[in-house]
């Protein structure tokens, strides 16, 4: 019913004797665009998530175009200035994203990178998120994509209206929510499984055993699948795709005396948000090793916006001291119809802090040489929120930042007023710049694409 990622049937037929019962997955129908250049110079697409909204009036520069900062830098963007990144980042303001019902923070979160609205009910029905569209175009990498979150979202509740998955991740593919992974899991997934004591022979023998094991499992799943009804088949299909991806990775493993050394000491702190820089280090190193190119990073889950998180590490602009009020409450600064200016200022202070974190990642990439330039030259790092003002769960007046040159296809350092255009037109532009051949992005409630023409970036 929805497009999945592209697979070659040839991959599935490896070990043909065991896999003859394989169903033709939707994923194998070639429906998805493919990046023309994904095998050549690596380009990265990174999404950095700000829970709740970003206040339009606190982030919009007075001037537009290049050198907008000559007329002053809005408070929310001070993080860019502090790290000398104004020329490396474009500010895009006042966009809209698929109008429709509110559904609160969850529905907005599901809409941000997909530009579609989840249908009511327990199932993830949003279209593929922009990071995943790119990830599908580069299937040969050790990992198609990586989703990292620092704070698992543990939301109890009946929540019958929408899948809770919308609150735990920003990445969706083929109706599956790809959950966030903790930094240690991300580290192990990216860099783990290297055993320095293995000889080439032992490596090959082990690889053969792993492949046989996965073949066995694939076969088991197919046999089971044939006995099931449609609902249950979908669950087994998700499972099959998991087997496939792991198998693909196993097949790609090559014995080598040289492994890309993570060069990172994995020292986790139990105190939030101390692990943010560690995650940045993991991301940058994994990009250097070209382990994956599509990233989404949530410094917190959407739970931060819906539940109990206070930004006690941010100074309260009203009266000093740590912020105590929960971010979610502050973000509804207009509760009961009256705008609470204090809360709005506190909200802006948090948004400023989030931009500072983003700036640290961008700076790190800018300081990492690659080829004749830097890692940032071959990346687009996007800082975004799922709403404009979250006061009324609005998906209008949305703003975002795009850092990097994406292989020379972007011209950063500008303020681009979106003038109420579609958020999807930004995602479409990024996909085009990445060489992904697709005509449209997103799905409006009436079923039409959310954008068919890209915004000039």
């Amino acid at each position: 019913m929805k497009k999945r990622w592209e697979l070659s049937r040839r991959h599935f037929l490896r070990g043909a004797g065991l896999t003859l019962g394989l169903p033709l997955l939707d994923a194998m129908v070639p429906s998805v665009a493919r990046a023309q250049d994904c095998a050549s110079g690596p380009q990265r697409l990174i999404f950095s998530f700000n829970p709740n909204g970003i206040l339009l009036d606190r982030i919009t520069p007075a001037a537009s175009g290049a050198q907008w900062w000559l007329s002053g830098v809005p408070d929310s963007l001070l993080g860019l200035q502090e790290r000398g990144l104004l020329e490396d980042v474009s500010v895009i303001t006042n966009l809209e994203n698929v109008h429709g019902e509110s559904g609160g923070h969850g529905l907005c979160a599901g809409a941000a990178l997909t530009c579609s609205l989840n249908e009511p009910g327990p199932t993830v029905t949003v279209t593929d998120s922009v990071d995943q569209v790119y990830a599908q175009a580069c299937p040969h990498l050790p990992r198609r994509s990586m989703q990292i979150g620092l704070r698992p979202s543990t939301l109890s509740g009946t929540t019958q209206t929408y899948p809770t998955a919308l609150k735990t991740t920003q990445s969706y593919r083929g109706g599956v929510a790809l959950p966030v992974q903790l930094p240690e899991q991300a580290f192990l997934s990216l860099f783990g499984n290297t055993d320095p004591s293995l000889t080439a022979e032992a490596f090959e023998a082990r690889k053969a055993r792993k492949a046989a094991l996965l073949d066995y499992v694939l076969d088991d799943a197919n046999r089971l699948r044939n006995k099931l009804g449609q609902n249950d088949k979908q669950k087994v299909d998700e499972y099959l795709q998991g087997v496939f991806e792991l198998d693909q990775r196993v097949q790609a493993e090559v014995f080598s005396g040289e492994v890309c050394d993570p060069e990172i000491q994995l020292e986790l702190s139990s105190v939030h948000p101390s692990n943010i820089d560690l995650v940045h280090d993991i991301m940058v190193r994994a990009m250097q090793c070209d382990l994956t190119r599509a990233w989404s990073f949530m410094r917190w889950g959407v739970g931060a916006s819906d539940g109990n998180l206070s930004y006690s590490f941010v100074d309260d602009p009203i009266g000093g001291g740590p912020l105590t009020e929960q971010y979610h409450n502050i973000s509804h600064y207009g509760f009961f119809g009256n705008e609470n200016e204090e809360w709005k200022s506190q909200c802006a202070a948090i948004e400023q802090w989030e931009v500072r974190q983003f700036s640290r990642l961008v700076e790190k990439m800018k300081n990492t040489p690659e080829g004749d330039g830097t890692l940032l030259d071959n990346a687009a790092v996007v800082h975004y929120a799922t709403m404009g003002s979250s006061q009324y769960h609005r998906r209008t007046e949305m703003s975002l930042l795009v850092a990097g040159r994406l292989g020379g296809t972007l011209t950063p350092g500008r303020h681009i007023p979106g003038e109420g255009g579609e958020l999807a037109s930004v995602w479409l532009a990024l996909l085009h710049n990445l060489g992904v051949d697709t005509q449209s992005f997103g799905r409006k409630p009436d079923g039409s694409p959310a954008a068919t023409s890209p915004l000039a970036l």
Binding site: S102, G104, P120, P122, T123, Q147, P152, T154, S156, G157, T158, T159, Q160, T161, P163, T164, A165, R173, A177, L178, P179, Q181, Q185, S197, T199, R209, A212, L213, Y216, D219, A221, L224, K227, L228, Q230, N231, D232, K235, V236, E238, Y239, Q241, G242, V243, E245, L246, G307, N308, S310, P322, T324, E325, Q326, N329, G337, N338, Q391, Y392, H393, R394
Partner: protein
């Protein structure tokens, strides 16, 4: 489901519809009933209890941990590998909501590997490795043959031939004994052939080989520091040359720079080397410096260029033949792994590897898949093991591969239930094995035990009598503690208390011990219903609370003299039932103030099974002006003047207001945040006025709608699907059965297990029949 307390509102037609909810339930609620505004549920005597479509469930994190622990026979947690389970209908075990993304699958893979390799792993034997000369051959320099005595002096070989062992060992901190069998001869030399032995980067040790041309065993013990590395065997062997200075000086004639005896092969440098080497010889630069027939011999790499000693002419040779090497680790062998022995009970030596492996797979597989494996399934597992054996691996490696496959199979990860015809909407009984799993995952959050599997094998589990006996047995088992932990922990939000974060500025007293005490109170309270088989209506009416000293202090009552929560009657505090518990107040509050809406929403969701939808979009401009300094009750009333808001707030607000006497961390208060007297009067939409939780609690306890919701919550948890309007009468039948059992906890469990919801299932009709 709909609300009974508030049925009057239904007549008004101002339902809390939001954008998702369907129209209210006219067909179950007789709105044309008596004129008191309350409608009655009208049901058949034997209502349809459609099992509905239960989507294939994968093991939740808790279930996986329990299942693995049960399989491997020890506490074993891999849950931290997994992303959080998705929650739907309030619980984490609902198949429709659970997805298996590649991340989850990879976690399963790691989990299977850890379980088999780390927990069930065969104990690593003491290292013992033997190399025959034929094998060593492959690792020697080109043309060098071990096992032959070299007679051909025209060949020139390096002084030393290092022979790395074919394997990389992971050495332990241990003593290793290296033994070998060799014979040596010398010609024109005083020095015997030598063997050098080096572990990793440690200094080498040397063993002289006797020069009597007779094979003999040699042995040396070496202390090793743990490190990864190769064992390196060096042969000081077969050297001959005329222009090199042969190393036949007696050891005593030569010392290294530190004064220790040395052959000067390595340690001597420069002039000191030459001086030492030549103590009994004449130092020379060229042959002209030497007397008689002697010529000037040098040692390249050891003495300075052009410096040497005068030596006799002729070939010097020391030769060695080696038959085998053996390295073995000394010490006591590691103890056997009893966990593995319980899984691998047979001996491959006596039974034969295939037969033994088959037995192992059959027994372990039956436990893991909660049903017997077919012969064909066993054949395929055996084929995997044979692949490993064909690679030359040990028995255990093949068995491990099969065990991993069993754990990675969808038959393990999913709780498989099959329909003979998945396209038919006709319900049919579950198989006995499927029923055994439903029972065990409902009551234990874990796999069926031997007793359940035996009953399933005998085909007798399905009768009422056997089921009743099993319910009693299983509820009495310690494993049943999982039921109140996982069901109650989610239904009543006990788990959520881990995440609440009251403002430390406003509530400096809120600390971890208070959090733990709140959690313990809610948890112990609910556990008591199961463990004492209490009347569940007391959930709302009890005045007995579970306090420790910390919570007693918080509640302003006398210390209970215990750090553990104990049941104490606290009738004077205004606290009644679960709505009087500070944990509930805290988790339904904002960080620094109470929230009437949040509290009302929680009560509606958890006890009326009717959580309001999120506010409609873009309500900006619709919200009327509200005076933020007015008493909460007045603000809410102003808010409700907008009909869009009133639809839901009409229901939420009175419920939330009844908790007004408790602040955001559950302390009793007489003034609210704005300094107005706290007023917990609740005016219900039907016109009734309740005086706080003291009156709301008993009203909830006796309300059939609330009771149906309690049934629905446990039923949802038990069968793993959501329940909708058309199930109302079916649930009402369960409620009646539960009421006939005096509302006991066990009566509720029994009503559910004995119902068609639990014992039958059906497929999805291809004509698109609804779940």
């Amino acid at each position: 489901m709909y609300r009974h307390l508030f049925v009057a509102a239904l007549v008004l037609g101002a339902g809390c519809d939001g954008v998702v909810r369907q129209a209210p339930l006219d067909h179950v609620l007789d709105t044309s009933g008596p004129g008191d505004g309350r409608s009655e549920l009208v049901c058949d005597d034997e209502p349809d209890q459609d099992p509905g479509v239960v989507t294939l469930r994968r093991l939740s994190r808790v279930e996986l941990d329990n299942t693995l622990s049960s399989l491997v026979g020890t506490e074993h947690s891999t849950a931290s590998l997994f992303p959080d389970d998705a929650i739907g209908y309030g619980f984490d075990n609902i198949g429709t909501f659970q997805s298996i993304s590649p991340v989850v699958f990879e976690a399963y893979y790691d989990s299977a590997e850890t379980s088999v390799v780390d927990v069930l792993g065969a104990p690593a034997a003491l290292l013992e490795q033997r190399y025959e000369s034929e094998l060593l051959q492959a690792y020697l320099p080109n043309g060098f043959e071990v096992g032959l005595v070299y007679q051909d002096t025209s060949l020139v070989y390096p002084v030393t031939s290092y022979t790395p062992s074919p394997d990389t060992f992971v050495f332990k901190d241990a003593t290793y004994r290296v033994r070998f069998n060799a014979a040596g001869v010398v010609q024109n030399m005083l020095l015997p052939p030598k063997v050098s032995i080096r572990f990793g980067t440690q200094p080498a040790v040397y063993v002289d080989v006797s020069s009597d041309a007779t094979f003999a065993d040699y042995s040396i013990d070496v202390e090793v520091d743990a490190e990864v590395g190769q064992l390196e065997i060096g042969l000081f062997n077969g050297f001959t040359a005329t222009n090199f200075m042969p190393l036949y000086q007696p050891l005593t004639s030569c010392t290294d720079l530190n004064g220790a005896p040395d052959e000067c092969a390595n340690n001597g440098t420069g002039d000191q080397c030459v001086a030492d080497l030549c103590r009994i010889k004449t130092a020379c630069v060229s042959d002209a410096d030497c007397p008689g027939t002697q010529h000037c011999g040098t040692v390249p790499n050891h003495c300075p260029p052009g410096r040497g000693c005068c030596v006799d002419p002729g070939n010097q040779t020391r030769l060695m033949a080696v038959d085998w090497f053996q390295v073995e680790e000394l010490g006591t062998p590691p103890p056997p792994n009893p966990l593995r022995d319980a899984v691998v009970e047979c001996d491959p030596e006596t039974l034969g590897a295939p037969q033994c492996a088959r037995q192992v797979f059959s027994a372990f597989g039956t436990q893991a898949w909660r049903r017997p494996l077919t012969g064909e399934e066993l054949d395929r597992l055996l084929a995997l093991a044979e692949l490993a054996w064909d690679q030359g691996e040990e028995f255990s490696v093949g068995v491990d591969l099969g065990l991993e496959a069993i754990l990675l199979s969808p038959n393990f990860m999913f709780r498989v239930e099959l329909d003979a015809d998945p396209g038919s909407g006709e319900s049919h009984p579950l198989s006995d094995y499927e029923l055994a799993s439903r029972l065990s995952y409902f009551l234990w959050s874990g796999p069926p035990d031997e007793a359940l599997l035996s009953l399933a094998e005998a085909g007798t589990l399905g009768s009422d009598e056997v089921l009743n006996a099993q319910i009693d047995r299983m509820l009495a088992s310690p494993r049943a503690q999982e039921l109140h932990r996982n069901f109650g922990g989610q239904w009543l939000f006990v788990r959520e208390l881990d995440h609440v974060a009251p403002s430390s500025e406003i509530f400096p007293d809120f600390d971890e011990s208070l959090r733990a005490a709140m959690k313990s109170e809610l948890g112990e309270f609910f556990a008591s219903f199961q463990n004492q088989d209490r009347d569940l209506r007391e959930l709302f009416t009890t005045t007995e609370f579970y306090l420790n000293d910390r919570l007693a202090q918080h509640y302003g009552v006398e210390a209970v003299g215990s750090e553990k929560s104990v049941p104490i009657s606290v009738e004077t505090t205004g606290r009644v039932g679960i709505l009087g518990m500070s944990g509930v107040h805290t988790l339904t509050s904002a960080a620094d103030h109470t929230s009437v809406t949040k509290r009302g929403k929680w009560i509606l969701g958890q006890f009326f099974c009717d959580e309001p939808p999120p506010p409609p979009p873009d309500v900006e401009g619709l919200a009327p002006n509200v005076d933020p300094t007015a008493p909460t009750r007045v603000q809410l009333a102003q808010h409700r003047e907008n009909p869009t808001c009133a639809g839901c707030h009409l229901y939420m607000d009175p419920l939330g207001l009844s908790l007004e006497h408790f602040d955001a961390v559950g302390r009793y208060r007489s003034l609210d945040e704005n300094g107005h007297p706290a007023d917990d009067t609740a005016e219900l939409p039907d016109g009734r006025v309740l005086d706080g939780i003291a009156e709301l609690g008993p009203a909830l306890a006796e309300d059939p709608e609330v009771q149906r919701c309690v049934v629905e919550q446990m039923l949802t948890y038990a069968v793993g699907r959501g329940f909708v309007t058309k199930d109302t009468c079916g649930i009402e039948a369960l409620r009646t059965a539960w009421a006939d059992g005096s509302y006991r906890y066990s009566a509720l469990v029994r009503a559910i297990v004995l119902s068609p919801y639990f014992r039958t299932r059906r497929g999805t009709p291809s004509n698109g029949g609804t779940p």
